[in-house]
């Protein structure tokens, strides 16, 4: 287990990435949610999903983005949220790349707008690079979900983090604090789990 995990630097970088991604999703979801019909056109313009499915996705997508943004802002279940957000961003990358490859002339509709545009006005490369960046941000959070200013962090105090990442981060923090788990007087479920999870890694060394 790297020393980086659980370090102050990692926690703060993850905090910045988390809040940054939350901001992106607030922006994109907020821009679309006020013009739901436009959002439907934007999705349908990709001509990937059947028309009726595209309509459903067009209505659901802005709210989905906002919900993910709230979860990221609060830092609740960060890893699961980041997995979903990463899947969403990957879908956007695939969608834009596919529209580009098929020579469609559409606005990506990423932050509102969207739909068909006159030929020659479509601009795919910057969109693709930007969405790839967002995908990487989500990926970072999947690997390093632990962060400051998050409900998740207080999970060890009992507020609840669904136990979604403490198998990595608590162990790292315990290592950093130098407390030796095997002789810990506390034999609750968590420390037992933690010992079991640590074992295979120790064998690898």
């Amino acid at each position: 287990m790297s020393r980086f995990r659980g370090s102050s630097a990692q926690l703060w970088i993850s905090t910045a990435v988390r809040l940054g991604l939350a901001g992106v999703l607030f922006w994109s979801g907020g821009a679309k949610v006020t013009e739901p019909q436009q959002a439907v056109l934007a999705v349908q313009a990709y001509e990937i999903l059947p028309v009726k499915v595209g309509e459903f996705v067009g209505y659901a997508l802005p709210l989905m983005e906002l919900a993910l943004a709230v979860a990221l802002l609060l830092g609740v279940a960060t890893r699961v949220t980041a997995i979903v957000a990463g899947a969403l961003m990957t879908a956007f990358v695939v969608g834009v790349a596919s529209a580009w490859a098929r020579g469609l002339s559409i606005d990506c509709g990423c932050f509102g707008g969207g739909g068909a545009v006159p030929e020659g006005e479509a601009n795919y490369l910057p969109v693709l690079l930007r969405d790839l960046g967002f995908t990487l941000m989500a990926g970072w959070l999947v690997v390093f979900p632990g962060s400051r200013l998050a409900i998740d962090r207080s999970g060890r105090a009992g507020t609840g983090d669904l136990g979604l990442y403490d198998e990595w981060d608590d162990a790292a923090e315990a290592e950093a604090e130098g407390s030796s788990q095997p002789t810990s007087p506390v034999t609750g479920r968590h420390s037992r789990d933690r010992q079991q999870r640590q074992q295979p890694e120790q064998e690898q060394r």
Partner: protein
């Protein structure tokens, strides 16, 4: 001896005490850990429930919205043949279908380019022109001008084919540059443009002001997403989409007219 024994006994007593204290501490820690686990579990369940409700809510809304095709019993303008249908003008052999939003700048350009030609083809009996007035730009532009104009177009259709087509072109000719947050025109403007093209029906003004055909306008907009129309203007000639980037409406109609001869 006695002293030693008593000391040992005393020592033994404090060891027992220490052991008991340690055991109590252990029990306390265990209890605290269990309390923390319980709290963690119950808040985990609470979060899962909230997430579940949000997801169900989003799916429910999207399902409702994508199946909401407008009111079933909306009043239809005279030249509209079915719920959510476009305004049908002329009865020529070639079908020309347009999907436009009165606030769309590209539609203004499109009408400037093709309006006179369409007028002539309708008059000559070459085409049947169906116009679907959309209103999705209202939410983008923060006004209700597209709904107002689409409704007024329906009112104009009540006055007949000629005034309907003329009113349609007048609105595009008067379309101001996009200015989000402000109305593109007032109902007084719409009433005036109708009078300009010779609409003198008693019901004209009230039809525009009361948004009589709002339900139909909603139906038309819903039909857009059902048809998968993703931009405006979109034109079809005899059911085939015109690729407006690479061909003109005129050439597509001429090809169709030739095919019919």
């Amino acid at each position: 001896m006695n002293d030693k024994r008593s000391q040992q006994r005393g020592g033994g007593g404090s060891k027992v005490k220490n052991k008991r204290a340690a055991r109590e501490r252990l029990a306390e820690q265990r209890a605290a850990q269990q309390r923390a686990d319980r709290r963690r579990r119950s808040s985990g369940i609470a979060i899962a429930v909230i997430v579940g409700l949000v997801v169900v809510g989003i799916i429910g809304y999207a399902w409702w919205a994508s199946n909401n095709d407008g009111p079933d019993d909306a009043a239809l303008p005279a030249l509209v043949q079915e719920s959510g249908g476009g305004v049908v003008i002329g009865d020529g052999p070639v079908d020309v279908t347009l999907w436009e939003d009165f606030q769309c700048p590209n539609c203004k350009d499109f009408e400037a380019e093709n309006g006179a030609m369409l007028d002539r083809l309708v008059t000559d009996g070459d085409i049947t022109l169906t116009i679907h007035p959309l209103s999705f730009l209202d939410s983008s532009l923060g006004n209700d001008s597209s709904v107002q104009a689409a409704n007024a177009f329906g009112c104009a259709a009540d006055a007949g084919e000629e005034p309907a087509l003329a009113f349609h072109q007048t609105v595009y000719a008067n379309q101001p540059p996009e200015n989000p947050g402000t109305p593109a025109w007032s109902t007084d403007d719409l009433v005036g443009w109708g009078q300009d093209v010779g609409i003198s029906d008693d019901s004209w003004e009230s039809c525009v002001n009361d948004v009589t055909y709002e339900g139909w306008v909603t139906q038309v907009q819903a039909s857009m997403t059902n048809e998968g129309i993703t931009g405006t203007p979109t034109a079809f000639v005899n059911g085939e989409k015109v690729q407006l980037g690479s061909e003109t409406l005129e050439s597509a109609i001429n090809d169709a007219l030739k095919g019919n001869q």
